[in-house]
């Protein structure tokens, strides 16, 4: 496969590819979650640049705005809440199956790479002026794909509702539970010290025992 691209095109691609892959590897091998998030942001920026080389201008911007800008911020927030470093980064339970899975993944990558290598490399058509611009994609989204577009908003609504419901604080319920437990313990202690009480069940004696504790 002879690349017909210019020298600069190639350099751009390889640099960006290196950034992307490097960033991804870096992300996946960090222990500190903050570092990982930051390098993922960097990876996304490199990806956005890659999209731009594919004439996907609108999506490059969206990638930065939404992915790097919003989703990663979300991650940061959560990292701030759950700020813990871990001791050993690799999961140990069932390690065998996981390693096997990675190997399977590697195999698949090689198979696909070979398929591509064997296939014919068609010439890359030059995209039109309006390819990948906001106006033309907006056109597509609002006409042919209006229904999926509107469904996304429904999806986001579901996600919001789900997120709120799942992460609702259960403090009140927890407090109630703890209070109930405390009451139970008090009763048990009362009965343990004064076994006669459980037979008599007299109100004032019970109150007296409660007063001691």
């Amino acid at each position: 496969m002879e690349p017909a691209a210019t020298f600069w095109d190639q350099i751009t691609f390889w640099i960006l590819a290196a950034c992307v892959v490097g960033g991804a590897l870096y992300t996946m091998t960090r222990r500190n979650p903050v570092t990982a998030v930051m390098s993922l942001v960097g990876t996304f920026f490199a990806l956005a640049a890659t999209y731009a080389t594919l004439s996907a201008h609108f999506l490059a911007i969206i990638q930065i705005l939404v992915y790097a800008g919003a989703i990663m911020v979300l991650f940061i927030f959560v990292v701030m809440i759950l700020n813990r470093e871990e001791v050993a980064p690799v999961a140990l339970r069932g390690l065998g199956a996981r390693i096997l899975g990675v190997v399977a993944g590697l195999y698949l990558v090689f198979v696909f790479a070979r398929v591509i290598h064997l296939g014919t490399s068609a010439a890359v058509p030059v995209p039109s002026e309006t390819f990948g611009t906001v106006a033309s994609i907006g056109d597509l989204l609002f006409r042919d794909f209006l229904y999926p577009f509107e469904s996304i908003s429904l999806l986001l609504l579901v996600a919001i509702v789900g997120g709120v419901v799942i992460s609702r604080s259960h403090k009140k319920e927890v407090a109630a539970e703890q209070a109930a437990e405390r009451r139970k313990i008090v009763e048990q202690l009362a009965h343990a010290d004064f076994p006669a009480l459980s037979d008599a069940g007299a109100g004032d004696a019970h109150g007296g025992a409660g007063g001691h504790h």
Binding site: P3, A5, T12, Q63, L82, A91, P127, L140, L156, I166
Partner: protein
Amino acid sequence: MPATPTAAREGTTDMPTSYYLILSFVLFLIGTSGVLLRRNALIVLMGIELQLNAGNLALLAFSRQLGDQKGHAFAFVIIALAAAEAAVGLAILVALFRSRQTINLDEASLMKR
């Protein structure tokens, strides 16, 4: 390297699609490995994001090859979907943390038989 002047217009590249596809596969592999091997739930979620982005990259490469913008629309939807999924996933994570005080997936084994 052949010194053919590029026929591409300014702002486009002539890089063959196969290169982008291989990049996409590699990225997907890295993401999958992260998901499979890491213990920290946050890192796992980030790996999932990498996988989604790999898919996006492949979509956009083919989109350019075929000159059809449907791929862009599809990628757009995927990004929105990734946002929703990240939100819900992180919410679950926060809830998990609140009850178990850990995000170590090894210890999230209550459901295990």
